[in-house]
């Protein structure tokens, strides 16, 4: 359950991003999770939900973009994507490839309700 460590890191990044700012409620936190990051979106949501329960952003939703494996073929030069753990070119089937995406695990943005202002102390 390494997703708990990851969810704690998300909470830390949220704190660092909003602390001391006059902002409305946090509506959502958007993250990218590549297939090769070995992070389970379901476990991560579960862990984030238990962490946020005693935070001012307890109603914030974790929005997860699941990203495929992105493959650049060293034989045919094609770029293809795979939603499974297949490490070959889907155009020419060569296994002489470079993985150029799929290990993403990034917090992209925090979406804030515009109206009410809360002074965040985290």
């Amino acid at each position: 359950m390494h997703e708990m460590s990851a969810a704690l890191s998300i909470a830390e990044i949220i704190s660092e991003s909003v602390s001391g700012k006059e902002l409305g409620n946090i509506l959502s936190v958007t993250i990218d999770v590549g297939l090769l990051s070995n992070i389970s979106a379901e476990s991560l949501t579960f862990c984030f939900d238990s962490i946020k329960a005693d935070k001012p952003y307890r109603s914030a939703v974790l929005l997860i973009n699941k990203l495929p494996v992105k493959i650049s073929c060293n034989e045919c030069g094609g770029i293809s994507t795979e939603n499974d753990y297949v490490f070959r070119c889907s155009i020419c089937s060569s296994d002489n490839i470079s993985v150029i995406g799929g290990d993403e695990f990034t917090l992209n943005k925090i979406t804030i309700e515009p109206q009410e202002k809360t002074s965040w102390v985290l």
Binding site: E12, V18, Y85, D95, L107, N108, T111
Partner: protein
Amino acid sequence: MGVITVERKILEKNDVVAAELRAEFRSKNILAVNILSSPGSGKTSLIEKVSRQLDKDIKLSVIIGDVQTDNDARRIAALGIPVVQIITNGACHLEAGLVRDAFRSLKDRTDILIIENVGNLVCPAAFDLGEEYKISVISTTEGDDKPVKYPVAFRNSSVMILNKIDLLPYVNCRPGLMIENARSVNPSLKVFQTSCNTGEGIDELCGWFKDNLK
């Protein structure tokens, strides 16, 4: 609606520490490896065997992660090898900060640092520890399809050790298929077949360590 653009790697704190450790290992000519496997594949036995058969002038140190007990560290310490046990108290993997603290407490000069991760092929694959190479261990009592069941661990590894090959007559393991499965996720994987009972393959594994020393 307001948006705060963040664009930060979620595990960046781990990655920063791992990058610092990697730079330190390289500057001190230390070959650091991170060994991953399921529980019971023989990681500690392999370290014991390698330590006995490595040339005596090559200095080895070990950091071991376990959920509980210092049993493994006591086995390694009994061989006179500097070792630090990390007890994770339930956590399923090691993180770079834990390895840094453990490494700081090792006082002896070392040529090879072996980090034995917590027995688990899922979580440890997500955390960079500053190692030069990951080594995945799989044993003949495990399923032939294990490499494709845990593809990220095998994809990220440079070496796979197929251990317990002395048991081949008694188990339904097809080593060729296991290796083929592993190479389907990682064609460049270097494979060793070993037995800690008979000692088969240990010399070849020691040779790999020697070849990769700075």
